[in-house]
Symmetry: C2
Subunit: 327 residues, 2 copies
C-alpha cells in the first residue's frame, strides 16, 4: 500500500517478477484495493495477505509503527520477524520502513546502526552509496560498520569482486575533512580494500565500488544527483535550436537520449537494501513503477539466496574480533 | 602565482579586466614570471608587486601562511590589511587563502566563522551556496550567520532583490534532518526571507536564492554537481549512435551543447567570495582561466563599490541586537 502509485504499480511489479523468482510473493494490503487493480486471477506464486491500515507518507515513523499494527508496513516486517517471510519490500514511508525493521528485527551483532545502500550509475558501471538515509548523526564506528556492510552487499548481491571502499570526503589527503571523516579514516585504514578518501566529483569515475558517508551527506549527494541529472537533460533539450526543422536532429538522437535516461533511471536498480538489521529489507523510491518493484523483488530474492544477513554477521564479527578484514 | 595555469591565465585575466574596472590591478608575484607571459607593456592600470615566494597547492594552509611571509598569497592579504588594496583575489590553495584572510584580517563583529559563497546555475538563473569550503564543523549559529552573509551578498553584488533563504536539508518538514539542521531551522525561522528546508533535488529549481549548509555538505554538493555534470554530458555523447553518418545530428546540435556547457561553466561566475572576514576576498577555482579571473576581478570591484563588508557588518549587528532581519 506504500508509494505514490500503490497498489497498482506494486501489484504489476509483483506479477512481472513472479515468473523470475522461485519463492512466493505475499502482497500485503487491502484485498479489495489489490483486486481492483488486478481483476483477473493472480499468478499462483502470489498470495494476498489482508492488512486493513496504511502508513501514510507524512506519518511520523516511530509512532506510526507503534500505532498501526495492522498496516501493510508493520505486518510485512512482522511476517519476517516471525519467520513467515524471508524478505520485506516497501515503497512506502522510508522512515517508517526503517523504524519497523529496526524496532521489530533489531540490528545484528556488532552493528550499532542500520544504513540504506543505494546503487548509483558510474562511468564503469555503478557504485553503492551508504548510508543514504537511515543514520543521520553517525559516529566514526558507524561509518566503519557501513563500510563492512556495503562491501558484503556489493560482493554478494551486486557480484562485484573485492569491492573497493572509499570514504566520501572533501579532499584526498587523510587529514582532510570534518571531525567525523578524519576519525573514520583512521578506522578504515586497516581494511585491505579501503582505497582512501573520494571526493564528490570523482565518485562517478568508477574508481570505487562502495562510498561511505553519514545519511545526511549521502542523502544530499543522492538527491542533488537526481535533481541535477534532470536539470542537465532539460537544459540540453532547451539549448537545442527552437525552430522545428532545426530540432529534427534531436529526434534522430532520441534513442541515445533514451538510453541515457535508462541508465540514470533508479528503477533499473530496483530498491535499496536497509543493511544492518536482522532480516532482508528493500526500500523502494516513492515514485516506484512496476519495473522498480520487479527489480527490487529480484534483488531481495538474490539477497536471501546469497545469505546476505549471515554474511554481514560473519564479516562484522570477524572484523570486530581483530581478524583481518576480508580474510 | 596560484592556480593550475598561473601566472599565464591570471595575467591574461587581469589584462582583460583592466578596461572594465575603475581601480588599479596589482599583480603580486615573481616579476620575471609575470613578464615572461606578458612580454609587452602592461595596461596602465596594472602594476606588478614583487613577491618572491609561492604557496603551493599541497602546502598545509596555516603553517604556509605563517612561514611564507613573502608569498604572493600572504602579501596580497597583507596589502588589504594595510589599506593598500581594497580586495584580494587568488586562484591558489583555497585553505591557505582562507587562512590568510582569517588570520590577518580576522572575522567581522558578530560573525564567528567565515564562509565561501559559490554561485551555481539553476533553472531560473542561479543560487548562492554557502558555506562551500571554509567552516567544516559548523554549529547552528554559524549557519545562521551564513544566511545573513549570503543574503547580503546575493542582494548587493548579485543584484537579487529580497533573496529567499533555504536551509539545505534531507526533508521539507522542520523536524527533518540531523542535529545541526534541526537546531539551525529554529534560529532561521525568525528571518522573513527564510523559505524553509530545501532538498538537494530541488536546489536547481530556482525556488531559493541562498542555500545554507556547513562546508562539508556544501563542498560535497558542489563537487558532486561538477562530477555529475561532466558525466551526463559525456554519457549523452556516448549514447549517440557510433556510426559517423548517424552522428552528424550531434554536430548540428553543437551550438546548443556549447551553450549548455557555458551555462554549467564555473568561469562564467568568476570567483567565490570568502564572506565574514574583514575585507573583500575572492577565491577562484584552481583551474581558472583568464575569463574566470576577469569575472572575479569585476565581482570584487562590485563588492567594493557596493560596500559589501560594511553591509554585512550592519546586517549582522542588526540581527544580533534582536532587530528584525532585513528591516
Amino acid at each position: 500500500m506504500g508509494g505514490d502509485y500503490a497498489p497498482r504499480e506494486i501489484v504489476a511489479g509483483a506479477v512481472a517478477a513472479a515468473p523470475e523468482v522461485h519463492g512466493k510473493i505475499l502482497l500485503i494490503g487491502r484485498r479489495d484495493a489489490i483486486e481492483a487493480v488486478h481483476p483477473g486471477a493472480m499468478p499462483q506464486q502470489i498470495e494476498i495477505v489482508e492488512a486493513s491500515e496504511v502508513v501514510e507518507m507524512d506519518d511520523e515513523p516511530v509512532s506510526a509503527v507503534r500505532r498501526k499494527k495492522n498496516s501493510s508496513l508493520v505486518m510485512g516486517a512482522t511476517l519476517v520477524k516471525n519467520g513467515e517471510a524471508d524478505a520485506f519490500i516497501s515503497a512506502g514511508n522510508t522512515g517508517a520502513v526503517t523504524a519497523a525493521a529496526h524496532l521489530l528485527w533489531k540490528t545484528i551483532p556488532n552493528i550499532a546502526r542500520p544504513a540504506i545502500a543505494t546503487v548509483i550509475p558510474s562511468r564503469t558501471g555503478c557504485f553503492v552509496l551508504l548510508d543514504s538515509g537511515a543514520t543521520v548523526d553517525a559516529e566514526p564506528h558507524h561509518l566503519y560498520e557501513f563500510a563492512i556492510m556495503g562491501s558484503v552487499y556489493a560482493e554478494s548481491v551486486l557480484r562485484i569482486k573485492s569491492p573497493r571502499i572509499g570514504l566520501l570526503n572533501i579532499g584526498e589527503e587523510p587529514t582532510k575533512g570534518n571531525a567525523l571523516t578524519k576519525a573514520t579514516y583512521k578506522l578504515l585504514q586497516g581494511m585491505p580494500n579501503f582505497v582512501g578518501n573520494v571526493e564528490g566529483k570523482y565518485v562517478f569515475d568508477g574508481g570505487v565500488d562502495v562510498v561511505v558517508c553519514d545519511a545526511f551527506v549521502g542523502n544530499v549527494l543522492l538527491k542533488t544527483a537526481q535533481g541535477l541529472g534532470a536539470f542537465v537533460i532539460e537544459m540540453f533539450r532547451d539549448s537545442a535550436p527552437k525552430h522545428f526543422i532545426a530540432r529534427l536532429p534531436l529526434l534522430l538522437l532520441k534513442r541515445g537520449i533514451n538510453r541515457m535516461r535508462k541508465r540514470m533511471d533508479y528503477a533499473e536498480y530496483g530498491g535499496a537494501p536497509l543493511l544492518g538489521v536482522d532480516g532482508i529489507c528493500f526500500i523502494c523510491h516513492g515514485h516506484s513503477n512496476a519495473k522498480a518493484i520487479k527489480n527490487a523483488i529480484i534483488l531481495a530474492q538474490r539477497g536471501h539466496d546469497m545469505h546476505l544477513v549471515s554474511k554481514i554477521i560473519e564479516q562484522a564479527a570477524r572484523t570486530k574480533t581483530g581478524e583481518q578484514f576480508g580474510a
